[in-house]
């Protein structure tokens, strides 16, 4: 009984710590809010079943990401998701951005969705989960130098896209 309670407590801690980031990651990986929710729930269902195999609590985040990526790979086989209108699910901006900033955010979001998976995935692991290049390398099974190249190209593509789509002003200075 105590074992069950302990397992439930561990599981709930994982859910509280990682469900938001996993959802955010899933959303930007698959581009569909319903599928993202489905993926995260499926991830935690599998995590619950295999929780006893997670010996190192420090590895929980990577473990959950691995489960989610596998589940997404399976789902991708079953159906190609329809893209969600990202504006439906983005967090409301507290800082009341001006029109230029709003346009820039919209272009960034559009650009992220248009990145090829090989660029988008490492970028999301870095920005959403704060993974280091070494952690991304381990997660994706590619070399650290390949990770750095993909991250560099991902950002270059995003910047090029924004530039191409005509954002002016201080954003230009970034490039």
């Amino acid at each position: 009984m105590t074992g069950d309670t302990d397992k439930t407590r561990r599981f709930n801690e994982l859910a509280e710590a990682y469900s938001t980031d996993l959802y955010r990651y899933a959303m930007w990986i698959c581009g569909n809010d319903a599928l993202a929710k489905d993926l995260v729930q499926e991830t935690f269902l599998r995590a619950w079943r295999a929780l006893d195999s997670l010996k190192d609590g420090g590895a929980a985040k990577s473990w959950l990401i691995t489960i989610l990526r596998r589940e997404y790979a399976r789902t991708f086989e079953r159906k190609v998701p329809l893209f969600t209108d990202v504006d439906k699910v983005v967090v409301a901006d507290d800082d009341e951005p001006g029109p230029e900033e709003r346009t820039e955010r919209a272009l960034l979001r559009q650009g992220i969705m248009q990145l090829e998976p090989k660029y988008r995935e490492p970028l999301l692991l870095q920005v959403v989960f704060g993974h280091s290049c070494a952690e991304i390398s381990a997660q994706l099974g590619i070399s650290k130098s390949a990770v750095m190249t993909q991250l560099f190209r991902a950002r270059e593509k995003l910047k090029t896209q924004i530039q191409k789509d005509g954002v002016t002003g201080n954003v230009h200075e970034l490039f």
């Binding site: 439930t8 709930n12 269902l45 596998r70 790979a73 079953r78 960034l108 560099f152 950002r155």
Partner: protein, 238 residues
């Protein structure tokens, strides 16, 4: 050896929050370095803001409920749709399998890849157990070496011009590529064939052959050594 400005900007674009001593030294070395670092950080803040999405309000509660009722939680509608799709795909697959007549390996590869090649590349993000790889390869009288096993992200049986073979998706630094193992088919060793937007490098093995398939921008021939060294054929009882 200190970092030049171009290297520094490249590093910023790959790892903008890097704070190792060499990066910090470079950052403090000249005003343009400092400015580039500040601009990179500003871009990161914009990126983080753009990526903010709010999870559904009931997500956490739904997840916590799993520990109370850990059953398969998918609703029936997607399953019903998936089942319909499976039947349709199965029917198409049967028609496809019944019409297998290829004049050449090139024609086979073009038709086979058009069937599900691109879709299966989506499996490059997943993983497959070494046991599954060994099982499939052994049933084809072959085996995969450790290096190849490490790169295989998906494997399944597939039709080939002469009997059953294996369709594999492998991860490479140039993105996922496909290897089709044809246990009973001989090819022109080292020939490059092209179809649609793809090209394939053909490798004759001790028994049978393999086609390494990728987009035309991908150096498929780079996997030749991997295939030759790691795809061992004619291993009875492997």
């Amino acid at each position: 050896m200190s970092m030049n400005f171009s290297e520094f900007k490249k590093l910023l674009a790959a790892d903008p929050w890097n704070r190792d001593s060499e990066t910090l030294r470079a950052r403090n070395s000249a005003p343009e370095f400092e400015q580039a670092a500040e601009e990179a950080e500003a871009f990161e803040h914009k990126l983080q803001t753009a990526l903010q999405v709010s999870p559904p309000v009931d997500l956490l509660a739904d997840i916590k409920a799993i520990s109370q009722h850990p059953v398969q939680r998918r609703n029936w509608m997607p399953l019903a749709l998936a089942a319909s799709l499976l039947i349709a795909v199965g029917a198409v697959g049967m028609v496809w399998k019944q019409s297998q007549q290829w004049d050449s390996v090139e024609a086979y590869l073009a038709e086979h890849y058009a069937h599900d090649g691109d879709t299966l590349l989506g499996r490059a993000a997943g993983s497959v157990s070494e046991a599954d790889i060994s099982r499939i390869m052994a049933s084809l009288n072959a085996s995969a070496g450790q290096q190849l096993k490490g790169q295989i992200k998906f494997i399944k049986f597939c039709p080939t011009p002469e009997g059953r073979g294996a369709h594999m998706v492998v991860s490479t630094e140039q993105g996922p590529m496909t290897i089709v193992f044809m246990p009973a088919t001989q090819v022109t060793d080292g020939e490059m064939v092209e179809f649609n937007q793809m090209h394939a490098y053909l490798v004759n093995l001790e028994h049978g052959s393999a086609a390494i398939i990728g987009r035309r921008s991908q150096p498929v021939e780079n996997l030749e050594a991997l295939v030759r060294n790691s795809l061992r054929t004619g291993m009875v009882g492997a």
